[in-house]
Structure formats: structure tokens, C-alpha cells
């Protein structure tokens, strides 16, 4: 079976390892930079002593926060929602690992040696690691401007919750915990920065070139056009590269030293740059005895880490997703994000949603178990259906939750008992369903150029990071134009050459940028029609497009597109825009209601597990991801994304946790922060449900099944062993402790 042609140049280059990533790039005359980081989670920074570093052979300079804040032409902090993140620390160190100084040298080895020689003078302050504790009145305050370490607060109220609590026959409550975690992209953050004639050029491994451009322009108080940001394919991102991180310090150093700077993070530094929000979710659900959900209260505290990044708004995204994919007449939700002295949190695949789905889907099974209702049946009774009203007051359409649930259940043969487990082990099955919004508002612009030689170039700032966006856009444009894919090329994003895109994230590219591309093709076709009409001397309305050519509708001689351009003519350019408005920024944060997302992401997962009752170890025997994909552009890529997201989620489910001791990360390496190997992952299956409507929009699938995986596995563990674990990851120790507790509670008769 051949999915990709052997002659596919891009595929060959990928498999052989030819230059592809910003990591592979160098600039003539570059200097190498290495970051010196804070040893304390919270401290007063009294000074930085670069003497020994400067005496190291090969070291050219040491840049500190004092240098940056002493330069009146630079804004010393950056951050889109809150400009609270210093380019290099000044005055206060807010997390262990925060960048304090930048050592610049002629070689990487000299920079590494120099890094060892920088002294940091500071006085330790009390620190806080836990987001709940950060809200206590006597908690250490990270930012003077933000009392109570507040980093975003959102509330939603739907229906009449008091009435709901009165009406409920039973009330279920629980607190569900998701730990801090890390994206672990294989390619680290890396950037190159150079100035020429007052203009800044940056190459960086980023999901959002325009965002980086605008942030850098703000830092240097330049017009955006004075900054150029380019990227290549990313060696993985998963949300870790959606924000500006190391680019400002590299750019500052490049300008001061008048030479290009190359900054590449070591692996431990990637862990210390950005991470996933830890969260505690307090969930209470009131139900009728027949299993109908009547009322829900959700209280979430997200851990934003030391700097805001996207947390204030992202907490609101969490609020929108918190009720779950269910028809619930009364909902009250309160979501907070708080600063703590930990690695800053940022978007993470399945952003803000995995933590919520773990809570509400675990609780669904607790409800089912207590009421004696089958977990799938309970969900069927309550899942949102087309036209239902959601807790934001919106009526939702194009819903497929029912199909996703049935598909997931079928995949693990729900209703059929598990095959018998070996002695000392037990088996069980679990399902889960999830709902998510997508980035709204957003904007994607695409240009499609037709050259005289017939080649077609798509100018798009969507970033290829393994999700197949280049292949998808190639196919979308080729199909829309009726030409062979081989004629279409999609160069890398370059803010000088490719138009605006909000970012490659939130599973939005195939949909948003795909739509922009289709509109660009429409625009191009209009121009082609006009040319053909002029050339043929016929009215434009009488012409039709087919297979890369245009001719009279009834038949007759057609002209191919390239022949509408004379050799030497500039390319014809069609432009298309996708734009969505509204969403969270248009809402009152303490009374959220109204249009929240341009479409709803829907996914489900099912798992069958085996639990070793003597050790608590969980083995996932099979796992299935179901996603609603709208229109599938590339079946192979969709399957890869779907299954890949399940593999990713299994990591957070079973083994991933960023561990802090005394406010410092202790496992910032791949030997101690474990991600799944091929042996950890069972045979996977997946389904991408497509709309029957051929004109339907494609939906991204990169994050759909993902949030449902952890609760599906947790539910399977419960079904197998009776152990209900409300903390991730589902470590053997947690399971064993729970089994022992249960046995004790049963008077020693069980377990």
C-alpha cells in the first residue's frame, strides 16, 4: 500500500534528514548565545556578575536585565495580554529557570563555558508553587500589578442553578487534579536574529510568525514592517512554540553587538521555558434518578506559572469548555488562573480542555456507577444534540457527539465482556466524550499566485509542524483549481512575503487557512475569467472552469490557465480572507454568554485496560480516538493526527508529570520526564467522522480525541478494578493505594 509516492521529494528529504528546521540554519558571522537562569523560584535580584564569564576565552559579551532596561529605546518586557515578562530578569526572579543573563561567544563551547562563570547575587523570598495556595491572603505576590496573583477570572451562569440544586435527586462532587506537564517537542526552541540597516530579521521555530513579529516590533518600538520573521518546518511544537519566548533576548543581543545571534535551547531549558497548566477542577453535578443531568457547578483553578502569556484569555477558553458536551439546564462556572513561581504555562495540545474532560468524564462514570446506569447509556441520554442550547446561551449545530460516542463504544466492543485476564489482573473498558472551542476571533489570509509557466504558489503563514498543513493546503488549492498537486508549492512562512495568520494552533489551519485558500482561488478564478473573456471576446458569464482550463460553458475550445499569461507577465494573484469575530474578547468576563466559537470541536475516546492488582500497573490493551473531521482532505494525515494525539494523551494519562521540589523542577530531562515509547502504546484505532455534505468545512483533528483519552482510561481502570483515581497521571502507586483503601473499606473482603 502506498500512501506517499516514492518520488515525493519532500518525503525523501524528511526520511533522509536533509535540512528542514530552523535548528539546521546558521548565519555567516553568527555568535552563539546561552542563557543563564535563576537558581531560585522567587528572589530579589541584586546583581549579576559577569567577570569570570567575560574572562572565558571566546566569550564576547554578557547581557543582563540591567542592560536591557537601561536602554530607553527598548520596552524591557513583553507579552500580548499582559506585558509582564522581562526580556531578561530585573529586580525580581520569579521562577527557577527564569532567564537572567545571556552569554554570547564565538562558539557554542565557549558560550557553555561562559555560562558557568556568571554569578547571580540574589536574596531568596518565600515562594508558592500551588495555584490554590497562591490565592491565599498571605501568599507571596509575584507581580505588584496583580493582587492575589490573579491572572484571569471568568464566570458563567446559565439557567437558575439554585433551582437546579433544589430539584436534583442526587448530587455528586469531586475534585480532579491535572499536574504540570511539558510539551517535549523534539526540536528545541531555536532562533537566529540579525539586524541590517535598522531592520530586524529573525528565523525562529514558531507556530505564529506574525505574532512574533508584532511582539518584537513592540519591544523595539518599530513599525511591524521593520521586522521580518521567517520559519521553517518545526520539529514538533504542540503549543510550545505559539508564543514569543527567546526571540527578544536574541534580537537585543544582535543589535548591541552588531552581529547575528544564534540561540538554541538545551533540552532542560525547553522544560523551563513553557509548560502545560496544572489545574484543579472542583465539579458538582446534580442529577435526577433517571440519570438526567440537571445542574452543574464547575470551579477551576489553572496554574499560570510566573508570567501571563495567554493565561488570562485561555482561562476564558476553559470556562467555555467547562460544562462538557451535555444538555444541562442550569450551570454555574467559575474559572481562575493564578500566578505561581513555576515555569510559565502556555497553550498545550488540547489546551485547557484535557484537565476539564478528565473531571467531567470521570464524574459521568461515577454517576453512572452510583445510579446503576450503563456509562454509555447515561451519556446517550444527556449528550448535546443538534439545536440544543449550551451554557453560553448558544444553540449548537453540526453536532456529532452521539455518533462519536457510538463509534468509540463500538471500537472497544462495549457491552461485550473483556477477555479473561491472567491471574492477579483485571480488565475493563471506558469511554469519554469532549467538547472544545476554537480560536475565536481569528484571521487567516492566503494568496494564490499563478505564474506564466503554470506553477502555482500558495502564500500562507500556516506553519508545517508535522500535522500535514502544507500537504493539506496543496491539496485544497489543487482541487479547487483543478490542477495536479505537483504544480502547487507552498513556501515557508515569511512575514515579508506571506500574509497574516493568527497562528497555527487550536486545530484551525485546515479549516481557517483552508477556507482562505479556497477564497483566494475563487478570486484568482475571477481574474482568469476576466482575462479569458477579454481574450475570447465573449461575456464572462458564458465561461466555465474545468481541470485547469477555461472555456465556453456549452463546450468548445478552452484555454489553459498558463496560456492566459504571456511569458514575462507578473503572476496573477488571488487573495482570500477567513475571519471570525466575537468570541471571548467581546464578552464580559464575569458574565460570559453569546457567540463563543466559529465551530465546536468534538471528540471521543475509548480504552480497554488491564490492571495488575498487585502492583497497580495499568496496561492499555487498546485505545481508540474518534474525531469529527468535517471534510477529510487527506485521510492518511487525518489518521496520523488522530492517532498521534492519542499517543500524546497516553503520556499525560499514564506517566507525564513535571515535578517540583522546593520550587525547582527536578525532572527537566527525558530520562526522568517520561514520554511514551513504541512499547507503551498498544495497537491504536481511530475514526474521523465526516459530514455527508461534500461542501462541509474541514475540521482539524489534531486535538479532538486527546482530551477524552485520560478519562476513558481512568474509567476503564475503575471498571476493571474499582479504583477511581482523580489525579493524573494514573501511576501504579496511585492505583495500588486506591485498591488497598477500597479493600480496607470493604473490611478486607475485596481487593
Amino acid at each position: 500500500m502506498t500512501v506517499v509516492d516514492l518520488d515525493d521529494r519532500d518525503a525523501q528529504d524528511t526520511v533522509v534528514g536533509r535540512p528542514r528546521y530552523v535548528l539546521d540554519q546558521h548565519i555567516e558571522g553568527e555568535l552563539h548565545a546561552k542563557i543563564v537562569r535563576s537558581p531560585h523560584p522567587h528572589a530579589r535580584l541584586d546583581g549579576v556578575d559577569p567577570t569570570r564569564a567575560l574572562a572565558t576565552p571566546g566569550v564576547v559579551a554578557v547581557l543582563t536585565g540591567a542592560d536591557v532596561s537601561g536602554d530607553a529605546s527598548i520596552n524591557a518586557t513583553f507579552g500580548r495580554q499582559r506585558s509582564d515578562q522581562p526580556i531578561l530578569a530585573v529586580g525580581t526572579l520569579r521562577y527557577a529557570g527564569e532567564p537572567v543573563a545571556l552569554v554570547v561567544a564565538e562558539s557554542i563551547e565557549a558560550a557553555e563555558a561562559g555560562r558557568e562563570g556568571v554569578g547571580i547575587e540574589c536574596r531568596a523570598l518565600p515562594h508558592v508553587v500551588d495555584a490554590e495556595a497562591a490565592g491565599a491572603p498571605d501568599a507571596p505576590q509575584l507581580h505588584a500589578a496583580w493582587a492575589g496573583n490573579g491572572c484571569g477570572e471568568w464566570k458563567l451562569r446559565y439557567g437558575d442553578p439554585e433551582q437546579g440544586w433544589r430539584e436534583a435527586d442526587r448530587v455528586f462532587e469531586g475534585t480532579y487534579w491535572s499536574p504540570p506537564a511539558s510539551h517535549v517537542p523534539m526540536e528545541p526552541h531555536v532562533c537566529l536574529a540579525a539586524w541590517e540597516d535598522g531592520r530586524l530579521s529573525v528565523w525562529t521555530s514558531t507556530q505564529a510568525p506574525h505574532r512574533v513579529r508584532d511582539d518584537l516590533a513592540a519591544v523595539f518600538r518599530l513599525a511591524p514592517e521593520a521586522v521580518r520573521v521567517q520559519t521553517r518546518d518545526l520539529g514538533g511544537a504542540f503549543g510550545a512554540k505559539g508564543q514569543t519566548t527567546i526571540e527578544p533576548m536574541a534580537a537585543v543581543a544582535a543589535r548591541r553587538l552588531g552581529r547575528p545571534i544564534r540561540l538554541e535551547l538545551d533540552r532542560d531549558e525547553v522544560f523551563l521555558t513553557i509548560g502545560k497548566h496544572a489545574a484543579s477542577v472542583r465539579l458538582a453535578t446534580g442529577v435526577a434518578t433517571d440519570g438526567r443531568l440537571l445542574v452543574r457547578r464547575v470551579q477551576v483553578v489553572y496554574n499560570a506559572g510566573a508570567y501571563a502569556l495567554t493565561s488570562p484569555l485561555a482561562a476564558g477558553q476553559g470556562l467555555l469548555r467547562a460544562p462538557g458536551p451535555y444538555r444541562i439546564p442550569h450551570v454555574e462556572a467559575h474559572v481562575l488562573a493564578r500566578y505561581t513561581n513555576t515555569v510559565p504555562s502556555g497553550p498545550f495540545r488540547g489546551a485547557m480542555t484535557s484537565q476539564l474532560a478528565f473531571a467531567y468524564e470521570s464524574q459521568m462514570d461515577e454517576i453512572a456507577s452510583s445510579l446503576g446506569i450503563d456509562p454509555v447509556a447515561l451519556r446517550r441520554r444527556n449528550l448535546l444534540k443538534d439545536g440544543d442550547q449550551y451554557a453560553t446561551g448558544e444553540h449548537l449545530h453540526q453536532l456529532h457527539f452521539g455518533e462519536l460516542l457510538e463509534d468509540a463504544a463500538r471500537a472497544v466492543e462495549w457491552g461485550t465482556p473483556c477477555a479473561p485476564a491472567p491471574p492477579g489482573r483485571v480488565r475493563g473498558k471506558g469511554v469519554a466524550v469532549m467538547i472544545k472551542t476554537t480560536l475565536t476571533p481569528s484571521r487567516s489570509v492566503a494568496r494564490v499566485e499563478l505564474a506564466a509557466d503554470g506553477s502555482i504558489t500558495v502564500r500562507s503563514s500556516s506553519v508545517e509542524m508535522g500535522q500535514g498543513s502544507r500537504a493539506a493546503l496543496t491539496r485544497i488549492v489543487a482541487q479547487a483549481l483543478g490542477v495536479q498537486e505537483a504544480r502547487v508549492s507552498v513556501p515557508h512562512p515569511d512575514t515579508d512575503r506571506t500574509p497574516f495568520d493568527s497562528s497555527t494552533s487550536s486545530s484551525r489551519t485546515t479549516s481557517s487557512m483552508g477556507t482562505a485558500c479556497v477564497r483566494a482561488v475563487d478570486d484568482l478564478r475571477c481574474q482568469l475569467t476576466e482575462r479569458a473573456a477579454a481574450e475570447l471576446g465573449v461575456p464572462a458569464e458564458s465561461l466555465a472552469h474545468r481541470d485547469g482550463a477555461i472555456g465556453p460553458q456549452g463546450g468548445g475550445a478552452r484555454i489553459t490557465y498558463e496560456h492566459l499569461l504571456a511569458l514575462g507577465d507578473p503572476p496573477l494573484v488571488g487573495e482570500g480572507l477567513f475571519e471570525s469575530h466575537g468570541g471571548l474578547p467581546a464578552m464580559d468576563p464575569l458574565d460570559v454568554r453569546g457567540f463563543s466559537t466559529v465551530h465546536w470541536h468534538q471528540g471521543a475516546a475509548a480504552a480497554e485496560v488491564e490492571v495488575d492488582c498487585e502492583t497497580g500497573r495499568v496496561t492499555v490493551l487498546r485505545c481508540h480516538g474518534s474525531a469529527y473531521a468535517g471534510r477529510v482532505v487527506n485521510a492518511h494525515r487525518v489518521r496520523q493526527q488522530n492517532q498521534g494525539s492519542v499517543v500524546f494523551a497516553l503520556g499525560q494519562t499514564l506517566m507525564e508529570e513535571l515535578v517540583y521540589d522546593e520550587g525547582r523542577v527536578v525532572n527537566a530531562n527525558l530520562a526522568e520526564y517520561m514520554i511514551p515509547s513504541i512499547q507503551d502504546v498498544p495497537e491504536l484505532t481511530s475514526t474521523a467522522i465526516e459530514s455527508s455534505d461534500l461542501e462541509a468545512e474541514p475540521h482539524g483533528v489534531g486535538e479532538m480525541a486527546l482530551p477524552a483519552v485520560a478519562p476513558a482510561v481512568a474509567n476503564a481502570v475503575f471498571h476493571a478494578s474499582g479504583a477511581r483515581i482523580r489525579c493524573l497521571p494514573l501511576t501504579p502507586e496511585r492505583v495500588l493505594r486506591c485498591l488497598r483503601e477500597n479493600a480496607r473499606a470493604d473490611g478486607g473482603s475485596g481487593g
Binding site: A11, V15, E28, M186, E187, D197, Q467, R637
Partner: protein, 187 residues
Amino acid sequence: MLGPTVVAVAEMAPAPPGLDWQQTQLQLNHRRLTVTAPVTETLSRTLRCRVGLTSVRETCGVGVCGTCTVLLDGSAASSCLALTAQLAGVAVTTAEGLLGPDGEPGPVQRAFIRRGAYQCGFCIPAMTLAVHAALYVRRHRDREAVVDELSGNLCRCGSYPQIREVLMELLADRGGEAADGATTGGR
């Protein structure tokens, strides 16, 4: 305005000061190559920064992730934990070394391409070397034995299902006819 020139890697590794240097003659992908590097330089840094082989990556630096995999005399090894200075006369194979004589992809590479067994691609050249070593050097016949030997090559994008399909295909081919894995430098 084009901006600063972006150049290929091999030109760009200046001499780190203050370290003992050693000249080592490597046998790299069938070519003899003399490299001069500090005694404590890892093979991964030499290959990537001095020789310019972008197929050799380094993700973890502790021998766990596998993206730095090379073959040393046919055996899979972590180049991030090997000192170049110790490898005189050792046959070093990177993904470039799995190509055929005319630069066409070798059998393992073809299987990965046909199956589209890659997403971001960062771990894949190393993965092909690991598969090659398991199938054609250690000559495993059993898929689970091969999977066991791939467990040290991590893929964060989660392409494991497609990689399993590649193994099935290659094992089936090998059952049918003799593999031409001999195009490589592995032994």
C-alpha cells in the same frame, strides 16, 4: 532586501579555545573523513556541526530519546554519548548512508516513505537506522523483538502505528526474498 546570508552548517564551526584537540580518521558512510575535534567532543556534535549532517539530531543529550542514533560498525549507538576521538577506524553510518549508490532511498527509507510514516520528521532518520539495525544487522524475524529494539527511539508526534506498519511490510518482504540491506555500510 534579502537579509543576512544563511549558509550550510559545515562552514560554521569555529575552534573552541582551551581544549585538547585530536585528529580522528572516521569511516563515514563509506568515505574516509578526517575530522579535528576536541577530545571531549561527542560524535553527534562533530557530525552535525563540523561535518554538516543535519540527519543527526540531538534531543535529550542523555542517550534516551534516540534522535542521535548512528550505526557504529553496524550497531545502533547514541552519538550523543560517543566521543569522536575514540572512533578511529570505526564505520559510522548515518541516514545518508542508507541511500543507494545513486542517492536513491534504500529499502527501509522507501518503506517509511510509502507508508508516510513520519509527521514532523525529527525522529525519523534515526528511526530508519534503528529499524535497519534491528532487521538487517541483528536480523530479528519477530515483530515484537524489533519493537523491543525500537523502544529507545521516541516519537512525540506519535507515528508509532505507521512505524509498526513499516515493520510488517519489511518483515514480510524479508520473508519473501533476500533483503538488499547490503547497500549500506552496516555490518
